[in-house]
Amino acid sequence: MGKFKKNQGGEMPAISTASLPDIVFMLLFFFMVATVMRQNTLMIENNLPFADQVEKLDKKDLVMYIYAGKPSANYTKYGKEARIQLNDKFADVKDIGAFIAAERASKREELIPFLTTALKVDKDANMGLIGDIKQELRKQNALKINYTVKKGSVFGRD
């Protein structure tokens, strides 16, 4: 039956791009929702080490962050040795006590036992500094800690 005409000439019709904005908007919304604005401006290099036996930190509001690492390129006037950063400024080991106390004071009392300290330490830092931090945390009785790492194998990286 001659009713169905074959598409002659083999010319493809142009693909409609009318739905392109919709797709792009969809992606846009995904990234807008997934974006977490950084809480702290890092003044140190913070290249986390890799490990694969990780557990997730679930309650974000119950985490205190302690950063440590070499001062980054803009802050070389603070020296080349690894330093601690609390909130937005460089700190000494002895400031950790006050920091923990302040963090605890800002939380509801019944939540204080669940507070975890996340140590975000640059992989090139040495353990002396971390030992000092840990000792200070023990003094403050903040015993739950988490070494924040990137997920990946520990082997074959430098």
Binding site: V24, V36, P49, A51, Q53, D124, M127, K144, V149, V154
Partner: protein
């Protein structure tokens, strides 16, 4: 002039605008790492009680300033550490551990409950190496717990733990918690750090 219908706005450039925004968010997004190795620090205790632990129940791991590993007084590569730790923990030397599959070597640990891993590092040790060692030791415990959980409940320990934290998991959480506790008692994580 005759009144005309308002002309339709050309929406062709909407995609461009959306792309621009998309690229902005793509660039600014830092997916925050929020996972890591959980540890518990020992509390500072005033009374220093000396607990006598048999030397064979301690698995000493020494990490020196040049990131070299000394395990039980022998130099060791990082890749062999996991296996050595598993062998030590699963030894079951005194025969009280019914589920251990180790060699029952009398000169190694008595049972997983008594076996202690002692980790010592120096100030010059790099953080990266320290985390790698911690990771391997935690992995040793996880491997053993996985085997045990597989034998008891037909599911690896790590998967059960994941299920416990998963809000969408449909099973009985109370029971799961109990099962996890049981395995944690059988293979307790006794990892001590020397200051």
């Amino acid at each position: 002039m005759a009144k005309r219908a308002a002309p339709e706005v050309n929406a062709g450039s909407m995609a461009d605008i959306a792309f621009l925004l998309l690229i902005f968010f793509l660039v600014t997004t830092t997916i925050e790492t929020d996972s890591g190795i959980n540890r518990k620090l020992p509390p500072i205790e005033e009374s220093q009680e000396d607990v006598i632990i048999k030397q064979k129940n301690i698995f000493t791991v020494l990490l020196n300033g040049k990131d070299q590993l000394l395990v039980e007084d022998n130099l060791m590569e990082l890749k062999d550490l996991r296996k050595a730790a598993i062998e030590f923990l699963d030894n079951g030397g005194d025969g009280t551990c019914t589920f251990c599959k180790g060699k029952k070597d009398p000169s190694s640990s008595d049972n997983p409950d008594k076996a202690i891993i002692s980790l010592k590092n120096e100030r010059e040790t790099s953080y990266k190496q320290y985390i790698a060692v911690q990771n391997e030791l935690v992995a040793a415990y996880n491997v053993l717990r996985d085997i045990r959980a597989e034998a008891l409940y037909g599911k690896p320990f790590t998967e059960m733990e994941k299920n416990l934290n998963d809000v969408n998991w449909p099973g009985n959480k109370e029971k799961l918690k109990e099962q996890l506790e049981k395995i944690k008692v059988e293979y307790p994580q006794k990892l001590s750090e020397v200051q």
